[in-house]
């Protein structure tokens, strides 16, 4: 018995939920970025799974979307980590609970 599309979607949903758990429960900015990257990886897994299980097309659209999404995730990680370093220089902390200067 070979795996169906369903089980891939379930695994991807579980990966997304793990990323969401990291984003919601961590106080450290770098952890939150790791969670976002995991959610993006889960979305990429969905793109590739849907491409594999649908009738074949030329050009391979799902694969293309996954490649572009990986490139954009890399750009997002670079800017996010630069922001973390800039915030750390300014406030000497990366705990998002302490960054409340804009709070009304």
């Amino acid at each position: 018995m070979t795996p169906t599309l369903q089980v891939f979607l379930i695994v991807s949903a579980a990966l997304f939920s793990a990323g969401l758990l990291a984003v919601l429960s961590r106080r450290h900015a770098i952890f939150i970025l790791i969670g976002i990257e995991m959610m993006l990886a889960a979305a990429n897994l969905n793109f590739i799974a849907f491409w594999r299980f649908s009738p074949q097309s030329q050009p391979p659209t799902g694969v293309m979307i996954a490649i572009f999404s990986i490139a954009i995730a890399a750009a997002e990680a670079a800017v996010g980590l630069a922001l973390v370093i800039a915030v750390y220089r300014h406030y000497r902390t990366t705990n998002v609970d302490h960054l409340d200067q804009l709070k009304g």
Binding site: P3, T4, A13, F16, I30, A41, A74
Partner: protein
């Protein structure tokens, strides 16, 4: 596609992802994150998208994970520990997973096996990138340049 390989990769990926979400030490969580991405790349290999799996390994483990480790080292002073998962976040994550799983099981059109497809060669990907996807490719190049210059400007020391 063998189901044994699928189950092994799924266990590895999900265990590493949960460890990345709950481990207290930043460095351990980052390494678990890298292992989870190896698992995702293995899924891509299993699904027949070898090129994308390799790109994922290069970009995420070669660049993003190393970048995260460097950032941890640069912000070391308070990067030692973070408390683990809290109950509200865990509850919401489980609820989201439950909703997604319910939707997947309720949709009959996704309970299908893999059709037989022609192997995806790098030649086909390259042809698609250079013909139908040439404008998105240029835009992504521009975006990457702008993002990296922006990251440099953000971390540059301010002149006083």
């Amino acid at each position: 596609m063998s189901s044994v390989a699928f189950v092994l990769i799924a266990i590895l990926t999900l265990a590493a992802a949960l460890a990345a979400a709950t481990l207290q030490k930043l460095m351990h969580a980052t390494l678990s994150f890298a292992v989870a991405l190896v698992g995702v790349a293995a899924f891509f290999f299993l699904l027949g998208a070898e090129f994308v799996g390799l790109v994922l390994v290069f970009v995420y483990i070669g660049a993003v994970a190393v970048l995260i480790v460097f950032t941890i080292l640069l912000t070391r002073r308070d990067a030692r520990k973070d408390h683990g998962a809290n109950w509200g976040g865990a509850l919401l994550a489980v609820a989201v997973f439950g909703g997604l799983a319910w939707a997947v099981f309720k949709t009959p059109s996704v309970a299908i096996g893999a059709p037989h497809i022609r192997a995806l060669t790098v030649k086909r990907i390259g042809e698609a990138l250079m013909t139908s996807y040439v404008w998105p490719l240029q835009c992504v190049g521009l975006l990457l340049t702008a993002a990296l210059i922006g990251a440099l400007v953000l971390v540059m020391e301010e002149k006083r």
